[in-house]
């Protein structure tokens, strides 16, 4: 299986689908799978959020989005954090 990347918008109580709290990407190959989240620390780091969501955890909602939408969220978070500093 070629590498497949699926992006998800993370929506919690402080955010909305229009302005998600963050973005998560799942990268899959034949033998591997890797979940990473981009947040206010401006880094892609391992995230268990999708695993929790798949087990019924309701702290966040995850919506599948396109790569372009994911890039927009990343850019918005970068701008927001830069503005806070």
């Amino acid at each position: 299986m070629p590498t497949k990347v699926t992006y998800y918008a993370i929506v919690d109580d402080y955010s909305s689908r229009a302005e998600p709290a963050g973005v998560l990407r799942r990268t899959e190959t034949d033998e591997e799978q890797s979940d990473e989240q981009f947040g206010h620390d401006l880094e892609w780091t391992y995230s268990p959020l999708l695993y929790s969501y798949e087990r019924g955890n309701m702290d966040n909602k995850l919506y599948e989005i396109t790569a372009a939408e994911a890039n927009q969220i990343v850019a918005r978070i970068r701008r927001t954090v830069a503005g806070e500093q």
Binding site: Q33, Q37, H40, D41, Y46, Y51
Partner: protein
């Protein structure tokens, strides 16, 4: 379990003695101020590099004190929130859930002794939100949906009707349904999870609806989920752990009508 300490700074010592001017780092020779070195000695003169070094040291001290103060305040706020949640659980929600349980002998509450989330786990969630989402401690605490949680376990035959009946009983007692998510068509987990609001104080709690088989599968795969949730598993491990959960969960019989129970909202 990973325990996130919040009552001390990230460094080895949150209260390091403040360096004074004589002990502040001073390793630079200034090519611009030879006279100062010649007349007062390299470490004594108030040269521009020394002033800059001292300024940086002051900034570092202020930031260190601020981090310590933030951590102390965070720990205090979490403690306060935890006490409040515990009072609501013991005084209001658990008694109500026991009364609802008594209305139907064909299903029962399980794990009642774990109805209050542990303080360490609550702290872990709050710290994550503060650091990753840039929210305040108060917002983060309010966003923990399952600080109080219960599970009803039904026979397969009585599952679907039982879930509807218990949702009605909760509503009749004034609890407000906030969210309900049906996972009976999912690969990783079978069951229905719901979130309710306590009248009067707005505290949220979680209620899960299971059969014995779905509860067994959830518990059997819990170790795998914990490895995914707490650690930083390699991509190979992530795949193996998810595949394991899928295999175990696939054995769970689906009660008649369970997949038709609608999500809310």
């Amino acid at each position: 379990m990973v325990v996130v300490r919040i009552d001390q700074s990230d460094g080895d010592d949150g209260h390091a003695p403040a360096p004074d001017a004589s002990t502040a780092p001073d390793t630079r020779e200034s090519p611009d101020t030879p006279a100062a070195s010649e007349t007062t000695g390299a470490r004594d003169g108030p040269t521009a590099p020394d002033a800059e070094t001292e300024r940086q040291a002051r900034i570092a001290r202020v930031m260190e004190h601020r981090a310590t103060a933030d951590a102390t305040y965070r720990a205090y706020a979490i403690d306060q929130a935890y006490e409040k949640v515990r009072d609501i659980e013991r005084g209001t929600v658990t008694p109500a859930m026991k009364r609802i349980e008594a209305e139907d002998p064909d299903r029962h509450l399980v794990g009642l002794e774990n109805s209050l989330k542990g303080r360490d786990r609550l702290t872990e969630k709050v710290i994550f939100d503060v650091q990753k989402k840039g929210v305040t401690v108060e917002q983060a605490v309010a966003n923990v949906k399952d600080a109080i949680r219960y599970t009803f376990c039904y026979s397969e035959d009585a599952y679907t009707e039982g879930v509807y009946a218990d949702c009605e009983r909760l509503a009749d007692k004034g609890f407000e349904l906030v969210e309900r998510r049906n996972s009976w068509d999912k690969e990783q987990y079978k069951g229905i999870n719901s979130r309710w609001r306590v009248p009067g104080n707005g505290q949220l709690f979680e209620l899960q609806f299971h059969t014995q088989a779905s509860l067994d599968a959830k518990e059997e795969t819990h170790w795998a989920y914990e490895k995914l949730r707490v650690g930083v598993p390699t991509p190979t491990e992530q795949r193996e752990l998810e595949d394991y959960q899928t295999r175990i969960t696939a054995r769970v019989p689906i009660p008649r009508g369970a997949q038709d129970t609608p999500d809310y909202p």
